[in-house]
Symmetry: C2
């Protein structure tokens, strides 16, 4: 069963917001065994909406449309449906009850009743958290579900009104999705080459890679007759991939590198502190993105100035003057210094040149020194990273996490 997501609103085409509704709905549909084959975005005008709807009716079994259902004149989704499928708009009694119910305890501008004018044959969908009812409409072979664009209203309507209807549809696939996350350090191309046979088009499971926050993830999507068969199919690939990437996989599915590290430390009742220079707080932010980090993560010092490296972490004047802040010695002293002063089991030091300025011939932009201090001593890595300031900072943070993870799984 194929689905297309249609997002309606000038704010998308004007680049005012990113389309997070399409992401949410795509993930949910995949989980329901409905294959998303495309996204589209159209502006708040009848013609583009109608033309997109007609295209979609030809190719999709299901279409989730969001946006353009509000009371104002620039909300044209209802007219778009009417135009696309030659239906008249008529006041829908059930939809009017939904609108009036929302206003039971507040004054209602009469314009709000526009929202109850639905294409003939449409079934209204309740919206308890907003003024606009959605609607379901079958046109040709395609089942359309029109929902509001406001994410909080859309998600609630999807979960309470749309998902239950989709679950009753026959012909959904049994699907199993698994993810393996790889330690950074290997390029996506090398990873892809290693598992080229698994990534062959048309193969089931479908295996693909994606990169986010400096981490490469291998995703396995298996389809079969039954949920159980799909799960088994996926497990076979996951077993193979675990072999192929042995020692380079830090986690699976919903986990993150920082989450895995915190879990290992939590099990060992060990603690962590960070000393960041070029990453400027990004690594701390990644660890504290994890709820409940506080029982392991004690503190970090973002020592941007040399004086701060010396005062907070005890980096020696000699190192700073002779070798400079971007040096192996400085990274090592930062890691040891934060471990000692924070009184933690583990300390990480990162110093480098994030750019765009500040690079020299021997220390170019992208030159980063990492050090990890732990019970087993201090280890160091020198990196030469490519990319802009953001990319260099993200990769440096991911590689610092990887170095710590390696130490934790060895020491």
């Amino acid at each position: 069963m194929n689905a297309i997501i249609l997002s309606i609103g000038d704010e998308l085409l004007d680049g005012l917001i990113a389309d997070t509704n399409a992401k949410f709905l795509s993930e949910r549909l995949q989980g329901l065994g409905i294959r998303v084959v495309g996204h589209r975005a159209a502006g708040d005008d009848v013609a583009p909406i109608a033309s997109a709807l007609k295209d979609i009716a030809r190719v999709a079994d299901v279409c989730l449309a969001t946006g353009g259902l509000g009371p104002t004149l620039d909300d044209r989704t209802r007219e778009g449906f009417a135009c696309a499928f030659g239906l008249s708009l008529a006041r829908n009694a059930a939809a009017e009850r939904i609108v009036r119910a929302f206003f039971r305890k507040r004054p209602m501008a009469v314009s709000n009743l526009r929202q109850a004018d639905l294409p003939r044959g449409a079934d209204p969908l309740a919206n308890p958290v907003g003024t606009a009812p959605g609607f379901a409409l079958k046109a040709g072979r395609c089942r359309f579900f029109a929902m509001p664009g406001v994410p909080s209203e859309m998600t609630r309507m999807f979960e309470h009104e749309v998902a239950p209807r989709l679950l009753r549809l026959p012909g959904r696939e049994a699907i199993a999705v698994r993810q393996l996350h790889l330690l950074p350090g290997t390029g996506e191309s090398v990873v892809g080459e290693t598992i080229a046979d698994y990534m062959r088009r048309g193969r089931n499971p479908v295996v693909g890679t994606l990169v986010s926050g400096g981490i490469i993830t291998v995703k396995v999507v298996a389809r079969s007759k039954t949920q159980r068969a799909a799960a088994l199919l996926a497990s076979d690939d996951v077993a193979d991939l675990n072999q192929i990437f042995r020692g380079r996989i830090f986690g699976a599915d919903g986990s993150t590198l920082e989450n895995e590290i915190l879990s290992i430390l939590r099990r060992r009742r060990q603690t962590l502190a960070l000393a960041e220079s070029c990453t400027g707080g990004l690594l701390s932010k990644r660890f504290t993105d994890v709820p409940g980090a506080s029982d392991v993560f004690v503190e970090s010092c973002v020592t941007y100035a040399n004086a701060s490296k010396a005062r907070r972490l005890g980096v020696s004047k000699a190192t700073l003057e002779r070798l400079g802040a971007v040096s192996e010695a400085c990274a090592r002293e930062m890691a040891e210094g934060i471990r000692k002063t924070a009184r933690t089991n583990w300390g990480v030091g990162i110093t480098g040149v994030a750019g765009p300025r500040g690079g020299t011939r021997e220390k170019p932009v992208g030159c980063v020194h990492l050090a990890v201090a732990g019970p087993g001593g201090v280890t160091h890595r020198e990196l030469r990273l490519k990319g802009d300031r953001d990319t260099i900072r993200i990769r440096a943070a991911a590689l610092a996490g990887a170095e710590l993870w390696r130490r934790l799984t060895k020491d």
Copy 2:
């Protein structure tokens, strides 16, 4: 001149990531006087890519395609173009030079040369920050530009290779885009109601609001016959909006709150240090996102543990024991403590409950205390923020910046 943005990648249809590339490109195209009339996303398969490309070639003057240019077998954009327009793929010498240049100093998996196989007639676009060259290709009336999907590579290629080519195209609209950034604290809906007349559909200039990183921006887009006329139209609205939001605007166009703060401090030869708890390094990251922050930003301490608040910042045991870490007194002592120990002119303290757990009746999730210590003393704000952990952390960081900005523009 009409443009459509085509985003290619299963990760979009699987809901693994939101399409931020389409947002970025839509905004940039608008600024170049090219009207974005649609977005589309297609999976990593030749047929859907080709069919989208053929549709687009019929209706658009310009198409920006992103994704699917990598070295792995699931990168099929090149084949998609070849199939759509009946072109053969051939090794492009210039593209091969681009690929080899990237690997000059590192081992290259041979699969990377796939990336130099372009549809006949395509002109390669350089990619200094990644392995995949892009390409430009004219098919029918439509000029296609294929770029990588990795945002850092795409943005760089767009700015250096694509935008200059678009600027040479005739038939672009004369357009002027201005942005005003508001201090956080007012909701987007309230801002929208305040300027409802300006936001009327069909009006020129088009006025809209967007929220990013906890900051509300009012955007003015004026179109006219000449660049000068468009600029004047936009300026009139900007003048009105400056009146309407007097005292609540911190910057315009490309600036950020952190950038504005660093500029003010730089002019005054003053310095800044931060003490973060619940934001966990996010505020430091936002300041160090600004290149050259190091001449103003000295350091920050992410004091997650109480012991660390006491040891690094001198927060009193009494405060921590009697009032707790989430309290006005603790925020004030954090701000004073970091200012004193970092020996800076300004210090900021943030402590609160980011959630999802850890809330109590008197200190619920979203309860955050901010303090700013400066030459004029210490000021404090208590916040009650709504939303998930990310949202609360982002809003707290934005509001901390706003409080510092207010102090800097008063003291």
